[in-house]
Point group: C2
Chain length 581, copies 2
């Protein structure tokens, strides 16, 4: 009888709730809970080891909680370690040191205006946002600078103002030219290397994960979280992980905090949720959105699943592998335009990568098609030589696979045409419109007029400080190219030469990562479909529905958000009741 009871209990532990067992195990009784064979026990279990996760681990440890970290990959740092390492932190210590006031009221307006352009209403106490949307922005503002200060005080982070390389100025925000942005530059900070120079994402994560290790917080690499373990009351009390085929169960007496990535390298999810094609990403290859099924099985409500942090990518590279080294963050060249299959411009080529890339997904109701799936970055001999080596313009156009060349506009169009024919099986038959070459001639003429007048009447290229400043940062002209400097009225536009050769690079929509997933509240608690917190479950970073929706506020946007909500999560989780059963 006793044996039979035990048998039943163990079965109850292992069998989940039917259809839901793929992401969560629900224990059926208090007995079942105590019968689980836990391999590890901790107060706060952190999943992931990027900037949000590491910040959560350090913060939780500082609060006196016992912490353990699970990392799916053999190495720590996630996509954060591959990034530029910049953190967008309003009202940060470097601004304060310079006496620049970044007031909450103003900063909230900037974030709300950029994230919710449709409903933004400065006259409304919540700026036109729903209360939970507004509270997430408030939580970010209130905690961002505090997070950085806390990590610095704890000796876990050494950062300074991030300056735009050649210009040596503080970084300009990604929507500097709206009246709501009262501090359009200087919110970006970055990690300082030991020699005092500015480091990147590798440096940032070396500092943070170094601090994790220094605190003797165990980091179990090669441990992939597979299921949440929930008790009878619906509280998340642990995680079941897979490590080389073995199941490892970790008990979290207070909470589980996910600081993992989006789903960008999960082709099934991309096809399910993205509204238009996404050809590649520079996120780490193991970023497959595992958290979505786990949280979904626990009843989480999903938010902005169709969103992503977008960037253009070089199609020829994406066709080789969707796991890319880098995106086309800023297209170089001044005698350069981007056109669609009809040979017409459709976007300000110098707009920030996240906003600019959105045009690839535009639907044309008149033709019932997506005419911007591919954009063709076209430039002349001047840009080919004067910006040689600035990605994606190659240092040597002869020895590269991603540049097409033609002696004339018609010749270039033919080259693009035949290349598109070769890859038709991979693109689903994308092609140029018959009007492409004719329209491209007209596009050159119109653009050259804009270059001479300094005014892009169609897409305002060069008007925002962002455009010209980041052009100089990302797209420096080679001083020794033999081509004259651009002394026209706009540094980002130079007339395209009337004679060839012309060059084309095919660009497609890609992403840094996706930014949809389970929704959180202002305490980083994962919400269920009734907007009630799922007890014991927290999230920060690309794995959750971004509190900024689809807007990319400035350099370091994703890391700044991840870090701050990792900090918020650890502090909120600290106040959870400790389960001593």
């Amino acid at each position: 009888m006793g044996e039979k009871r035990q048998g039943v209990t163990r079965r109850q532990v292992i069998v989940g709730a039917g259809a839901l067992s793929m992401g969560a195990v629900t224990l059926r009784s208090a007995k079942a809970e105590s019968a689980v064979q836990w391999d590890h026990e901790t107060d706060i279990l952190v999943v992931g080891s990027g900037v949000g996760a590491a910040t959560a681990a350090i913060t939780a440890h500082g609060n006196g909680d016992k912490v353990l970290v699970l990392e799916k990959a053999p190495i720590t740092g996630g996509t954060s370690a591959k990034s530029a390492g910049v953190l967008w932190i309003p009202d940060n210590f470097t601004l304060r040191a310079k006496g620049i006031e970044d007031r909450k009221e103003d900063c909230l307006k900037y974030m709300a205006r950029f994230s919710y352009p449709e409903t933004y209403n400065p006259a409304d106490p919540h700026l036109g946002l729903a209360s939970n949307e507004f509270e997430l922005l408030e939580a970010f503002y209130d905690n961002a600078s505090r997070t950085v200060d806390s990590l610095r005080t704890r000796g876990a982070l050494n950062v300074a103002e991030w300056r735009m390389f050649f210009l040596d100025r503080p970084a300009t925000d990604y929507l500097d030219n709206v009246p709501e942005n009262k501090v359009p530059a200087g919110r970006a900070i970055g990690p300082l290397k030991e020699d005092g120079s500015m480091g990147g994402g590798g440096e940032l994560m070396m500092q943070l994960n170094g601090a994790v290790k220094e605190r003797e917080i165990p980091i179990l690499t090669n441990h992939r979280a597979m299921k949440l373990i929930m008790n009878q009351a619906g509280r998340v009390i642990g995680v079941e992980a897979d490590s080389g085929g073995s199941t490892v169960r970790v008990r979290a007496r207070k909470a589980v905090i996910f600081g993992t990535g989006g789903y960008v390298h999960n082709p099934e999810f991309v096809s399910l949720y993205q509204p238009s094609r996404l050809w590649g990403s520079c996120a780490m290859p193991w970023i497959t959105g595992d958290f979505i099924n786990m949280a979904g099985a626990a009843g989480a409500r999903m938010g902005i699943m169709s969103s992503a942090w977008r960037t253009q990518v070089v199609l020829e590279e994406a066709l080789q592998s969707s796991k890319l080294g880098a995106g086309v963050f800023f297209p170089p060249g001044d005698s350069m335009v981007q056109v669609n299959r009809n040979g017409v411009r459709v976007v300000n080529e110098n707009r920030n990568y996240n906003d600019r890339t959105a045009v690839h997904g535009a639907y044309d109701p008149s033709s019932a098609e997506f005419p911007n799936q591919l954009l063709f970055m076209i430039y002349d001999q001047r840009s080919a030589e004067a910006f040689a080596g600035v990605y994606p313009i190659p240092a040597d156009p002869e020895n590269t696979n991603h540049v097409l060349q033609g002696d004339s506009v018609a010749g270039l169009a033919n080259k693009i045409d035949s290349r598109l024919s070769e890859i038709t099986a991979q693109t689903g038959g994308l092609s140029l419109a018959p009007s492409f070459a004719g329209n491209l001639e007209k596009t050159f003429k119109r653009f050259n007029g804009f270059a001479l007048s300094g005014k892009d009447e169609d897409f305002q290229r060069g008007e925002a400080a962002y455009d010209s400043e980041w052009h100089q940062v990302f797209s420096p002209m080679k001083p020794d190219s033999g081509w004259p400097a651009n002394d026209g009225p706009s540094i980002t536009m130079h007339p395209i030469r009337e004679e060839g050769p012309y060059y084309a690079i095919i660009l497609a929509a890609g992403a840094l990562d996706t930014c949809g997933g389970p929704a959180i509240d202002a305490s980083a608690r994962v919400l269920d479909t009734r907007d009630q917190p799922i007890p014991g479950l927290y999230g920060a970073g690309n794995c959750i529905a971004s509190p900024s929706r689809e807007a990319y506020w400035g350099a370091g946007h994703t890391l700044g958000l991840s870090m701050t909500f990792g900090y918020i999560a650890a502090n909120a989780a600290h106040n959870e009741p400790r389960d001593n059963a």
Copy 2:
């Protein structure tokens, strides 16, 4: 001891799985299952009473299954009863009678081209679609005509070719002008009234729900399904409904089929899932997406949650109530354009409502805003009088609240400006760009050139047969207006007069209903997040992720799909094992 056991068992029945209890009750043992107090028992439980639900009920009954219908509202018929009652059915009996071959291979290409413009590839065996996507299209083609024939044979439906009113021609599809559409007219059928004339949605649902009642299938109105009841094995075995505050539990020995609506009148879901604002809908007011939480709690995978069957709506009406009588399905007038806040045209005004309305959601990366949130339908005295009474042009412009009037372009712009100022709290501060009036003058000039040449170089208005034919159907010119007929080269375009007055109607994005929700397979089975069917759970109609994605293939698209998948669901459910426990 016995008492205690019983107490525990009953508690297990009532308490769901923690966070999941809002939409599903999971029974914890076989004992619990038999202990449920069922108020009704049936083989197949159908939820909803629109076209998909009624078809499922009639089909299941014809298969010899015992059927019961739950309807949330006090009346039956759902939004289907309010619709035009048209059914888009490829290869239907009226086409066959005329000897018109609507071949599977061709029709699949049309549907795939329209629904998946990005990946459509005629050379691929699955036309570039994922297998499950392709199988859904196949299932629709294979069963659509069969469904209609089956209902006719059973005496449940009396339909005929649906003809375009004044033109008296078969209905032209919504994307007739692509080479993939080999049968561009004639796929629409509609219900015949007793007198032999064509009826609408009321007639359609009177026939179908009449057939349900004739078969003595119980229809419990005022019963709102609240939770799915699942057994230990994860099978859906019934539904818990609310009827006037009382809980009613219905056991379904074979399956539960949902044929309910989308979530268009659930403001929280609209704000969560729609990518841009949705101002109103002509769906029945109780259409709030109840199925989403229920299926979600059972582990269903959601599809295309951000989608909708879109139509423009009159803003002034939507501000009164988002529960609208009708949408602007086809804007009347020939000396008429639609422009955005910048005073420029952004779409073919005669494109079908679903595709046309998509432009309201277009994001402009250069300005980081949605410039088409509102479109202004602007027309002159000719269209005001010659098309008077064709919605939304009023019969009497003096006694209407939704038309603005100005003696000149500048005067009209001022009127629009002040009206927008009055409603700023409701719109979140939407306004005209300062360039509006100047650009509108240029827009008139350019459009008038197109009207004279018969060629809209920007948006191809009037080029597709759809444009000119539906213009004559929806937008007939009054023969006695005193204005000369349009004898220009394009019947849909007439030059706008150089003198005023001019009129404006403010249009915004609305929807017939949403079309995202739980995903189904080709047997109409609801899928979980691993794409495995949730046993016992079926769906058809606007409550599930549409098998056509966002495309609206032709008149009667939504009803044709709902009806067909209702039929598929009932037949597949017939083969479920009958639970005789």
